[in-house]
Symmetry: C2
Subunit: 357 residues, 2 copies
């Protein structure tokens, strides 16, 4: 049997578990996997993909990850910035297949659009917990699309956030962000939309910055450089393609850059501008050495979140575990082979057909 | 809507269309795509994958292919030679996802275990049509597992096959092959199982050889070298992993090797032993120049069939077209997002829940 998790099954999980609890579970599962990370047992392969310019700029990528002897997860993720305006669809849409790594059988297929937002939030929560000021209460959010929702939600789970300043080049998207936040968070924070020329001043007044824009590869940075508190922490979420960069060069050179996936960050993250030797410790290394993280947290820290296949496997398994527990999802006999494994033509007929023939 | 093609939907297609007609359609669609091949419009990315030794040797690979501006297909294929004996499952099991290449939406998921056998057969039919003696009536089949079924079926669709000599290191598998062939083919041919020491003589008495074994990477060649007719044609199907080789070195150096995917063949096909400059024209080139194929056919020709992602996209689309036409498959709202593309948490509830809440 192959289990399908459609958006309704995911909704049922959210209703049962609650968004706060689900974010906390995702963050904790990720923390545990990273703290015990064993590169013999867990493998990823750099994501590959197709990109195109017509009809609009878009990408379709696959992100494979394996827990040896157990499971392979392959997330297929599309990034189509024109989706919201052209098709009324999310710009990041994805699905994940989970396979048995001993015989290749397809165990599950899940929509991963919600799960991608969840795991990207959880990665930032983990980085924030390790690197942001303990008393951080004010965030600057640059880019107010879908990812901003789970970023703010996740960060507010690990720091006493009270105020959020937001900026988006599309004013309507900035103004609608409040309505998209979980109710518990919306009631707790004050939200202030900024104009572009207010950004430099804002940078000086916040404890955490998060960037998650759909800026085009090769475009000018969205974020200006400006004075900020010494121990500012930045979650840089948007850079995930060669040429796509959000942070000012000077800030990236000044701070400690913490990659999620070192190789991937050097190719498509904020780290594109750095040499390998200029990178800070990775999120895995810091998860295994929280003392070192605490020392680094006294200065400027930048989490270079390009999105890691390991996170996707954990998110898909978290969803599958809950779906199995509460009995949601659709079970399909997708691979109900005939009795003879050497007979590719021996496809099983449906029971009806058998009776009828 | 996402359409799922399970093995029952595929069975219904086979019942409706017929195996012969389906093989002919697959071969003809492939011929047309290759004859009109436009590398601007059609892209593939070399397959990537995980391989492992425990509990048994196995592979899980992904094979992506794009028709620009239209569709991306990603076949995920497992190769687990111990599956039949250990799990009663086929050694090659796979699924394919089809995505809209303008917005990333998942259009379809199909089991591809049957379709992989079909398309691998069709590729050999195409190569055989271009390169084998016109009057070829006797085949030597080395390796009698699942792929042998569709190889013999496909080749017999394009040449007047009357007799098949078969060899497998597992005598039971060799003896059961007849029962797995389509009835129309079984009635038409005589089948003779050989012992290993009869192979050299058999090679001198056949018009076409096909190899499709599960030999381990690094093992000694399954096929001996021996005198053969000048215009022998070989479909070498098994080699698809570094170190996995079926044909004797001398034969590969002596013949014209026709790769399906040049880069892939150099890494994991029979062409592993050749320099790039020693390769013959590819199946694409010959499909565009049948006269050149006819000239080469006077000598020894070897089709190096490693399996090509383009074939998988065509096979998945052929199945999807028939499924849509006869109304089989399962339609699932896998990606039924909420009304706001910027709200990843705005998952739609089930209609029941909406009414109930």
């Amino acid at each position: 049997m192959t289990k399908l998790l459609d958006t309704r099954a995911l909704h049922a999980i959210v209703e049962d578990v609650g968004l706060d609890q689900l974010m906390d579970e995702m963050t904790e599962r990720l923390r545990r996997v990273l703290a015990e990370f064993d590169s013999e047992a867990i493998s990823t392969i750099p994501r590959g993909g197709f990109s195109y310019e017509k009809p609009d700029f878009g990408l379709l990528e696959w992100m494979p990850s394996m827990e040896r002897g157990r499971r392979v997860a392959i997330k297929t993720v599309g990034y189509h910035p024109s989706n919201p305006s052209t098709h009324g669809l999310p710009s990041v849409m994805s699905t994940t297949t989970l396979h048995d790594a001993t015989n290749g059988r397809l165990l599950a297929l899940t929509d991963s659009t919600f799960l991608t937002a969840l795991r990207t939030g959880a990665a930032s929560a983990l980085a924030t917990k390790l690197l942001a000021p303990r008393d951080a209460s004010v965030i600057l959010m640059i880019g107010c699309g879908a990812q901003a929702v789970s970023q703010l939600h996740a960060i507010a789970r690990v720091r006493p956030i009270e105020a959020v300043m937001v900026f988006d080049i599309d004013e309507r998207v900035a103004n609608s962000l409040a309505h998209r936040l979980p109710a518990s968070l919306r009631e707790r924070i004050s939200l202030l939309a900024l104009t572009e020329d207010q950004l430099p001043e804002a940078i000086g007044n916040v404890d955490i910055i998060c960037t998650a824009t759909s800026i085009e590869p090769g475009a000018e940075r969205v974020m200006p450089d400006a004075p900020h508190r010494d121990d500012l922490h930045v979650n840089a979420v948007g850079a995930d393609f060669p040429g796509k960069l959000e942070l000012p060069d000077a800030m990236v050179h000044r701070g400690t850059l913490v990659p999620d996936d070192i190789e991937q960050c050097l190719v498509e993250g904020e780290a594109q501008r750095l040499d390998r030797c200029d990178l800070g410790p990775s999120l895995v290394e810091l998860s295994q050495d929280p003392e070192r993280a605490a020392q680094l947290a006294a200065g400027l820290t930048i989490f270079d979140s390009t999105g890691w296949a390991v996170e996707d496997r954990i998110a898909a398994e978290l969803a599958l575990d809950h779906a199995t527990r509460i009995g949601v999802g659709i079970d399909v006999e997708l691979q109900d082979f005939g009795a003879d494994p050497f007979d590719p033509y021996g496809l099983r007929s449906t029971p009806d057909r058998k009776l009828g023939s």
